[in-house]
Amino acid sequence: MSRTHVSCNINGDDAEFLCDAGESLLDALRDEMRLMGAKEGCGTGDCGACSILMDGRLQCSCLIFAPEADGATIVTVEGIAAGDDLHPLQQCFLEGAALQCGVCTPGFIVAAKALLDRNPDPTETEVRYALAGNLCRCTGYDKIIRSVLAAAARITRETEEVLG
């Protein structure tokens, strides 16, 4: 079977890969690009462990066919930090003990970034609903929610400092 050629931008770099027509974008990211940060927890779009940003929108990469990524701009958990500088979400997840086993963490970081990109000052309820598509079985969500709120406050503070 001939394979499909896909050109896209992943985490700021131009990328190309070959994939099967029916292959998921998650499988392509993991198998072709060796980006192992997005995880398969269910394969049916129910757990959010495979969350990515595609053209700025939060998506379950297990529900997207890899050829659909042609021409798209994709951000995975590996692209959230700016070089060695962690994103405030990553810093706050560490400081707030927002992970136990850590397998859902990449999805939560990506989903929370999608939230803060469009709503930099969410309420607790808004955070809870924005992350309702991401399953965590370890934490009971408490420390995740607190860490996202802490990251939002930190981003706001840093923005204000920059703006003077």
Partner: protein, 750 residues
Amino acid sequence: MTITEQKPSYRYVGTRPVRHDGLDKVVGKARFAADLVLPGMLHGHILRSPHAHARILSIDTARAAAMPGVRAIISGADFPDLPADDPERNMTRNLMARDKVMYEGHAVAAVAATTRRQAKEAAEAIEVTYEVLPHVLEIADAMEPGAPLLHEDMITTGVDPEPSEPSNVSNRTCYERGDVDAALAAADIVVEGEFTTKPIHQGYIEPHACVADTGQDGKTVIWCSSQGHFRVRSQTAAMLGWDTSRIKVIPAEIGGGFGGKTTIYLEPLATELSARAGRPVKLVMSRDEVFRATGPTPGSRIRLKLGATNEGRITAAVARLDYEGGAFPGVWAMLGCMCVVSPYNVENFVLEGFEVVVNKPVNAAYRAPSAPMAAFATDTLVDEIAQQVGMDPIDLRLLNCPAEGDTAPYGPKWPVIGLRECLEAIRDSEHYRSKPAAGHGRGLASGFWFNIGEASSATVNLNENGTATVVTGSPDIGGSRASMALMAAEELGIDVHAIQPVVGDTEVVGFTDVTEGSRATFATGMAVVEACRDLKGQLRGRAAKMWECDVDDVEWADGHATHSGGEHEPMALAAITAEAGRTGGPLGATASLNARGAGPAFSVQVVDVSVDDETGRVTVERYTTAQDAGTAIHPDYVEGQMQGGVVQGIGWALNEEYIHDTDGTMENPGFLDYRIPVASDLPMIETIIVEVPNPNHPYGVRGVGEVGIVPPLPALANAIHDATGARIRDLPMSPPRVLAAITAGDGDGG
């Protein structure tokens, strides 16, 4: 919040440093088992039974073997058939069916091929001929005379005289004390009820995964996600009929387990496929396979009768606990008997448990296994007693509260326990002292779990720059590496981030039992402390050499050697390790031990709920949990265990259940239809860490991993009763069931 009694002051223990493995996990670098790729690696796929119960007449692999990319095919006949008395026999027959399939999803054959798709298509091309047999799914049906037999040779043990006929009951357990008939006759109040729960899955987000690479020397290396790689080694060896020395198991990061990864499903299959193909083989389960073929925790049917005085003292308990183990028997009913009335001093009881097999997936441990269902029955009825005698439910529990020296229902004397302190912590909490909001109902419950010790090993090596490496054999399932580093930092007096905690494979660290029974921080922590204390003795000796003084004149304090006569300035650990080459060589120590005296765990929880009377939906409005941690080594991760346990219990109480159709096919094998709690379902989970130190641990640790899941089932049932007047005795308390109970006006209406 932390409530502590006479805790020594520590420099590191009790602080909240960033965990050592955290960075890799927030940037996507942490390696879980499914992330491993080896050169030449093949992909495996398992063919599973479509039938709940059937005899395998033939397996024809000819067509599959001829398909592109296929390198190996195996089935049950390719593994040795263990003798009937081998303790691992049922495990091996669960991993790959022999003769019969026992549940829908039971593994029948496996294929290794170049790509995942090739493996899947080839597995589906294997032709299996079945003779479908009658099946049985529910406890009551399985115990009926004439029920379809899962195991034609299973004779119930624990019954006198021994039955002459086989049945689906593998074992009867009984604990008795006093004269229960007389106590019930004398009781002022008798309450009773029958309670049922469904099988529940552990629901870890990471499906089971492994890679096996079997070499031409007949040895294999396995990378896998498990709660205990030494058990992976021994169980894999048992199934293959290999000597364990042929198997090396390297633990990957584990994406949740909750008891469900204390046993194996894939590793011997991947190893055998790899041996036949001469290439590494990866096996990764789908979520569907996880639901159909792993876990769950047993469904149960519990009948309980309690007698009490008008003053609220519980005087008698009669319990009959039936637990379904899935297709092979477990020890679930026995554990239920041991837990069912343990938070109460009861003088007279008969606690009888039956272990039942049904045509469902073989059960695995799930966080305080068997205790939540038992507590559901007990703490619901205790709530009824409190109501009938007009007592505050905490006062009633304090009146019946066991303390050190009392005899636990399952035999031993209670050591130092913190149940009273947990009850008092909730009683004194702002949550309990404030009234529930208008229309909300409040429920309270307590829970018990044993905790265990078992075998652990640790090696601590000091590096020349004064840092340390701590190697243990306990997979880190929720932050235990940080706890190991904190205890080592406290002992050695060096910064917690100067310590690198490592989970070592089966060839670099001494034998260590599975991370289960809330034992890692307790038992493996003891091994770390023991190794560090050995090292401190060595460090004193090296300082004495450098100072040319008697070792008895050297003490170790705050990370420094100090001279008792004051003749030398204190010398930092790094100054000693820098000179180690000239004073006797590298500094390292190993400790291996059987940890005894795991302190029992108790939790007391209070919850406020609202109930939508049009839909029956229950909303958790406020939740507070108090739990005795002994000593919280890393309070963030103690709170995390408490919160995680509570939320799993909330899911169990309100939503989760295995649903099978009449053919025995699971109807909800995905997270859409098997709905675990999501963030928008929940409030914050308020925690009160109670610290009643365990005298058997150098820092007073008692395990914290499990007991938090025990009280939510009855706490929510009691809260729903408080809100609606309905007493619900069957889980889950999902909207249709709650609505039906409200509409029917179930319960006492009180």
